[in-house]
Amino acid sequence: MTARLPLAATRAPGSASEEDQGRRLAGLLLELARCINPEVAATLPSRLEDDPRLEALRGVLLEREQVALARLQRKFDDPRELADAVGAVLPAAFALAAAQDERLGQVIAPTVERAAQASIQKNPGTMVDILYPVMGPAIRKAIAETLEGTLQSINQAVKHSLSWRGLKWRIEAWRSGSSFADVVLRHTAVFRVEHLFLIHRKTGLLLAHVAREDATTRDPQLVSAMLSAIQDFVRDSFDESAGGGTSGRSIDSLRLGDLLLWCEEGPSAFLAAVIHGNPPAMVRTRLGETLATVHDQWRTALEAFDGDTAPFDEAGPLLRPCLLSQGAEAHRKVSPLLWAVPLALLVALGYWLAQRIAEGRRVDSYVAALQDQPGIVVTGAERRDGKWLVSGLRDPLAAQPEELLAQAHLDPARIMGRWEPYQALHPAIVLKRLQATLDPPATVSLTQDASGIRASGSAPQQWVDKARAFMLTLPAGAPKVDLSALKDVQDPDYIRLRDAIQAQLIHFDFSVPRPAADQESKLDAVAADMRELVKVARALGFPVKVTIVGHADATGKDTSNLALSVGRAEVVRSMLRARGVDPAVLAVRGAGPLEPLRPGASEDELSMNRRVSFGVSTGD
């Protein structure tokens, strides 16, 4: 401006000489240089005084600017006025600078920090007052959550402190150095996080959703929008401090029976977890941490979110670890080996019981078998000192109780018997007794029938006689023994020898007690037969008796004849004795003339009657 005006002024007259014009122009340029550069002003003297017109011109042309400049100068010089002026534009200047880039913030941050520090040092109360409305609710919320967690812990602790499990947990707490309540919670919290919805706060749109494979849900997009709407609804309806914005309190949890919905709020998004069961506070901490990570990683994407969820595809893997769960731990941790111990005990106990019952049954069947035996009466069977004692009455001829043990599969070492002997009248036992006592020959068979005992077959007369005698000794009421069917039979040897002996006759001369001289061979033969007879009788076990009968003829007196006949018998006896016949079986009898062989009186007949005959009989 100052440069152009003088030029214009010079052009206006239009008649000045070229040289004068050049000089003026040079002077003007020099003045201009002085104005611009202070160094030039110092070295070059002002040329204004050379041309006073210039000064006048300036005074005329720049009067208003000079006034304005003076005013500005005053403002700069007076600190109060300068402060006023800067104060008026400072907010706008800050706003503009902040909009351009972040340098302003970086520059003033240290100063602000120092100022805040100084302020707090000077009067801490002020800062507390300032922060209280902000921090108060946050602190209250934190305390409330902590208290809730603690209460839950206490509840669990009280519930479990007196049980056996409680004792185990107390030991675990002592060993691990954590609190008992924590240990209790760790073991008892049974829960499953089934769904996680990451929801954009402002729009209620679903950013990411993860769920367990087996969890079912309706359309997650709809669910997340509805959750968001309900959050808004509750906030609007009950929280007057919210003011309709995204700030303010929100629903922390909703419970529907076993189902729990936990919401963790962040500045741009919230995380909703659908949980089954009773989760510990640790789960909420985990949700909070995860949400913070989401905000950290997707800060710009969250702020610029316009419905495109593609940037949040990576959030799924981040959320998935939050699908925490815990089953009833006590059941999970039992090793199969631990089960084996009670199982083995149970099996052993079962085996022992089964054995005991089976043994009891076997003893019962053993006793029943004993009762069926004739001649045995069981009066008791009891367990004593781990063994069985079976007691009762037993006929000595009855079966051996021990023989029945094997049938009942019983260990003889475990069964003791105590038997009182008695005599049984059971037909079977009576039969046995008969057989034991009478020793019947093989030809005799004794059988038991409905009416008693029946003997059949054949037996020697003497055995039959013995049997009959024995019957008389049986007590009254004993079974009847029928011997009527027995046939009397004799031993053929006995019969032969008896007949042979009885056929022999020893002859005598008249009135001589000694046998005739020719009778020696006869005597030898009869003695041999008698010896054999005794042997046979002894072998068969019956007594035998040979009666030597002396005879006389009818001549002479009867008394002398009787003496003669006895004498003849005695002589023969001694002769037989001399020939080796046992004298114990020999008996003598004198018949005199009373048993003649021939009734006649001729010499031949008389001679025939002078004889000794033999009679053989069994029995005593």
Partner: protein, 164 residues
């Protein structure tokens, strides 16, 4: 997938809920409208090659006593204003809602649905009013909840506008 929050607004009895019922997926009953004041539906539309999920916030109707909960509008990418073509006062309500929404969430795309288009003989909204509003930037579409006329197209059109 692209998702957009769309609000469905209008006076009581203009047929908002029945208008969309046949065209959307939902898991919530109408009872939510009277309890929570909003019911969420979903409409899948294809824009170009991409699918877009319109999350419809069917917000309970408004009258003299109950105003729309403003917090439900937050974050909406667009909205549908429903007017009963046989009741001119519902257009007044729509105008009032529109002015309040404009203040609350700014200028997002919206379409005004003139519902009950099937009741031609009862039609009571003068053409001039519509023209005036159209001049102010309003977009009108005639629809019928009864016949389904115009509904699908409106969703399609709104989605196309949001995708741009």
């Amino acid at each position: 997938m692209l998702q957009k929050k769309i609000c469905l607004l209008g006076a009581f009895g203009v047929g908002k809920t029945s208008l969309v019922r046949r065209f959307v997926d939902t898991i919530f009953s109408d009872a939510y409208l009277t309890t929570v004041g909003v019911k969420i539906d979903k409409k899948l539309v294809t824009v170009g090659t991409e699918q877009m999920a319109l999350i419809l916030w069917d917000i309970a109707g408004e009258d003299e006593v109950s105003a729309v909960r403003v917090s439900y509008l937050r974050g909406a990418a667009g909205y549908l204003l429903v007017v009963d073509g046989t009741r001119p006062e519902t257009l007044d309500t729509a105008v009032s809602i529109q002015s309040r929404i404009g203040a609350e969430i700014g200028g997002v795309p919206f379409v005004v649905l003139l519902n009950k288009a099937d009741l031609q003989e009862d039609w009571a909204i003068p053409m001039e009013r519509i023209q005036v509003l159209e001049a102010a930037g309003w977009v009108f579409r005639r629809t019928s909840a009864k016949t389904g006329f115009g509904v699908e197209e409106t969703f399609q059109e709104l989605a196309a506008r949001l995708a741009r």
